[in-house]
Amino acid sequence: MPDQPLSPASNVEQTDDALFERYRNGDAAAFETLLARHQSALFGFLIRMTGDRALAEDLFQETWMRVVREARRYRAEQKFSRWLFTIANRLAIDELRRRKRWRTVSVDDEETTVELPANGPSAAVETERRRTLSRIEAALATMQPSLRQVFLLREHSGVSFKEIAAMTDAPLGTVLWRMSAALKHLRKELEADGIDGVMAK
């Protein structure tokens, strides 16, 4: 992976809000710092949410373009990272819905694994793809999207469970249950993949 642009030293200590305000006043370097600061977490969220690198690249670009377009509507009392991930989350879900790969799961649902779409890649291609993907990526690929969403938002965006509840229009209890179910699924997949250690005991 090539090196990404480095953030200018003078911007390192500044808050996201301060940087974004500077960008709104015409400072391109401030935007570059913001991008460098969030690109890894945001792209990680998108690629793991969609399981598709090309799509994740498109959504990544679209998310930042929305940030630029809607800069005037941004309010400083919002947390920048929450705003950024709210945009990315909406775009990802819209895309998954469009591709009929989105379904919410309720607390009563026991089964949290999703079948791969019928019109998706063939079994052989899928097997090959799975070989190349890491164990974690494979575990995420079979996770229910609404569980994956909560898990990835908490891991990548750094926003609290309460904020995720607001972002996803779900009660806090449901969000915590989805997180727990996501971890349970992850454990199960890792155990099935022969990961030893504490989980196998």
Binding site: M1, P2, Q4, P5, Y23, R24, N25, G26, D27, A28, F31, E32, L35, Q39, S40, A41, F43, G44, I47, R48, R53, A56, E57, F60, Q61, W64, M65, V67, V68, R72, S134, R135, I136, E137, R154, E155, H156, S160, F161, K162, G173, L176, W177, M179, S180, L183, K184, L186, R187, L190, I195, G197, V198, M199, K201
Partner: protein, 177 residues
């Protein structure tokens, strides 16, 4: 705390969001519940495993495309933000000038009356013409009243001083016992 509640607090605790009192209760629950203890341990392991994975990064082309599309185009908000200090200063100067000019035009009081704090309705003749003699008399009256106040103040000071002395004497007397 039951197992379901313990599970919720565990999720919050994994990210440092649980209240301290809830964490204490969780620990108590885990100490007595083998199933929850195993689940908690496995959750922490799974998270650690996930975090060991390198996070994918966007391609250089994508990053460059984002930077190109984000070239700042200062809009009116930005321009106003830069001009704001100068605009506020200009507005303050205009407001002060307006206030002074209105006061001078519509406030028919002499400077002496303003200084003495007397009302124009009481001291001014019905003709509303400014009389410097009247002003001078009013000022003299205020000075006389102020001097009387000072005299009363001095008298009070003397009394307080006397009381202080008496109190000191009293203290001195009581300490000698």
């Amino acid at each position: 705390m039951n197992c379901e509640q313990a599970n919720e607090v565990l999720m919050l605790d994994l990210y440092g969001e649980a209240a301290a009192a809830d964490v204490v209760e969780l620990k108590t629950h885990l100490a007595g519940c083998a199933a929850c203890r195993r689940a908690a341990e496995a959750s922490r392991e799974a998270l650690a495993e996930f975090r060991r994975e390198a996070t994918p990064r966007p391609s250089r082309e994508t990053v460059e495309a984002v930077l190109a599309s984000a070239q700042p185009r200062p809009f009116l908000g930005g321009i106003f933000a830069q001009l704001r200090p100068a605009l506020w200063q200009a507005a303050a100067v205009v407001a002060i000038a307006l206030t002074v000019s209105v006061a001078v035009k519509f406030w028919p009081q002499s400077p002496v009356q303003l200084a003495a704090g007397t009302s124009s309705a009481v001291t001014q003749p019905a003709t509303t013409e400014t009389s410097w003699d009247t002003d001078s008399a009013a000022l003299s009256e205020h000075i006389r009243l102020a001097q009387a106040d000072v005299a009363i103040g001095s008298s009070l000071d003397n009394r307080i001083s006397g009381l202080r002395d008496a109190l000191s004497d009293l203290h001195a007397g009581s300490s000698s016992f």
